[in-house]
Symmetry: C2
Subunit: 435 residues, 2 copies
Amino acid sequence: MLNRVRSAVAHLVSSGGGPPPRPKSPDLPTATSAPPAAPPEAPRSPPARAGSARAAPRKIAEARASFSRPTFLQLSPGGLRRADDHAGRAVQSPPDTGRRLPWSTGYAEVINAGKSRHNEDQACCEVVYVEGRRSVSGAPREPSRGQPCWPLQKEVTHESLVVGAIENAFQLMDEQMARERRGHQVEGGCCALVVVYLLGKVYVANAGDSRAIIVRNGEIIPMSQEFTPETERQRLQLLGFLKPELLGGEFTHLEFPRRVQPKELGQRMLYRDQNMTGWAYKKIELEDLRFPLVCGEGKKARVMATIGVTRGLGDHNLRVCSSTLPIKPFLSCFPEVRVYDLTQYEHCPDDVLVLGTDGLWDVTSDCEVAATVDKVLSAYEPNDPSRYTALAQALVLGARGTPRDRGWRLPNNKLGSGDDISVFVIPLGGPGSYS
Amino acid sequence: MLNRVRSAVAHLVSSGGGPPPRPKSPDLPTATSAPPAAPPEAPRSPPARAGSARAAPRKIAEARASFSRPTFLQLSPGGLRRADDHAGRAVQSPPDTGRRLPWSTGYAEVINAGKSRHNEDQACCEVVYVEGRRSVSGAPREPSRGQPCWPLQKEVTHESLVVGAIENAFQLMDEQMARERRGHQVEGGCCALVVVYLLGKVYVANAGDSRAIIVRNGEIIPMSQEFTPETERQRLQLLGFLKPELLGGEFTHLEFPRRVQPKELGQRMLYRDQNMTGWAYKKIELEDLRFPLVCGEGKKARVMATIGVTRGLGDHNLRVCSSTLPIKPFLSCFPEVRVYDLTQYEHCPDDVLVLGTDGLWDVTSDCEVAATVDKVLSAYEPNDPSRYTALAQALVLGARGTPRDRGWRLPNNKLGSGDDISVFVIPLGGPGSYS
């Protein structure tokens, strides 16, 4: 996935005849003390990515898409075995002795409590240098505000080109996964959360249930959106309404506050369709007795009684339980991309972008993360580059808990996350920063 | 339209066996000094509505849907003739001597400069009393926050029921217009902007190019959204993508920054599809040479080279120019409904909700309206009930301009609006207010 984004963005900024992008030490980025290249000739983009697979590739596919840990963890064969220990669940971070991640980015991960053999989160982090020509041709020049480049030509900003390149990368990745299942029988799919830094702006692209937030001066700025059957109800219902064949006569695209009973035929009941945000009444007809396309609430909300996440890559073979109906058309591979302009605010060393997989967010609120950011960072000197890794570790540990009473438990005795947990902490104004 | 909304909302609050809703002095509302009824047994809802027709009903239909002016203007036959005078364009307001509109709401309108025989804006305003039973059954009771009424029952708030009733009213109105064209040959369609006040909340529903803003302590709060081919690009493209038969092989659902030339076949060009907010590159294929579904910018943006507004009622017979392709599937009758809770803020007599048709907004910005609000209201005593009509008149006059140099011109010598202009000014904390 990261390769896709890297090549899409690199292709974008180098288009016009410059040499092809040179990934520099793939998956083992250079120290961020490397002199920042002057935009736009040689922008660099250190993208970080956290994602969690929804279903394990079957054994048959392992040769092609085997599980591994991020190279930057520099795990020895012995370390790899310890990292895979479901009983110990040791927190993994890059070693203090090696090269740091760009900007002294912090990272930590932990394996699940036994729900799957491997850690199905897969992180990576990379710096790309592109040596382009002096002016970026191919991509239209940034026009002055409100003034199109040519007559009858729509204004296309650099920002919208980067967003489009990332969107395109997600789509191409999904198509690649569709192609690769032929002959490989790769099952399953995954979510993806990608961060690209380019020319002073941070782009956060999310498809799935990972989450990114900025904690800035104690304030929480959401940098991604949840994609659930509830938040995407109208998109899903519209698809079912316009393409009723996707519902196969088994589901209704209408939503009701509860399951309709056959004895209620002819009675009035509240409903919502794809155009409505409120509820209105309708007379119950035979079709309304079908199972609802979207049902359940909160964590239990499902599309076609099958999936609880509505964006992600892969899953091309996924079917409705005990049915041949495909899920994929409702599961979209397109991310939402949010842009954060780093130059619009004077950041201090305690301002961070936190990326976490669902393992973190299942048991940790945004506010709890912000509190941990404050607590951990204030215990370190502002120029101590290890503080962000310490923070990532604290977040992972806080979500995992400790083994007690036949389970992993948090200090309040509630269950911790038994899922894989991965966390990046990217400092926005810290040591070794971009500026 | 207002009848539809009135009956939908009245039906909602009276459902459960109470007597049917009694419109009180239809189109000539009672003075707002009438004692406010206690919710929810007898809520009252003074809805105001401003909308502008896009095409005049043909003569054959006039018997059924003839143009008229709001009853509350109390126009004599002579006054009606003067109001229809395209040369004079006299500003019309309710007479000082008659009953005031609810809450001392201000109103003013003016006919167009000759583009159509009639004033195609149609305003109305009404107070409805509903005598329901002591508790509203049928509609579920408002549950305590986060706690469903029944197990497995989704929480349905009173607010979402009112929103749903209004959405439903728009849809039913549109269906009624579809039915009525048979046998009547009614052509054309219209936008609609509806305000409903109920139980402490103001509901603003908009489908089209009218606009509502609240000016509160000088601050502008948008209460409606523009629906144009540009703001609705992704909805329109998705419809064209999922139902390609609607494009009839004449249009492409993809967007390009400019028209693609046949000689560019095989070359790379930027594009956006229904899933993208950014731009990416694709190789031009034969299909991409078709005319784009959405094209043009700003005021000149069009769907299928035909309409510039993408929400509204009617227009069921509208076809693409020199083609048989119907426009209607792309033109949605569903409004966006915004809710404003009047109880969350202590309003002063200068806080107002301003509704205007496109004739106002074509030449007046939100900021200019806010400046006029400040200027006019500060010239009147806070308890002078005529100040809101004076404000509505000032807004209409400011958009119309004065006849000079062969046209209606604004003080800056730019052209004023030659369109019909209608403005409601609803005070949120003024004399005769709801509280």
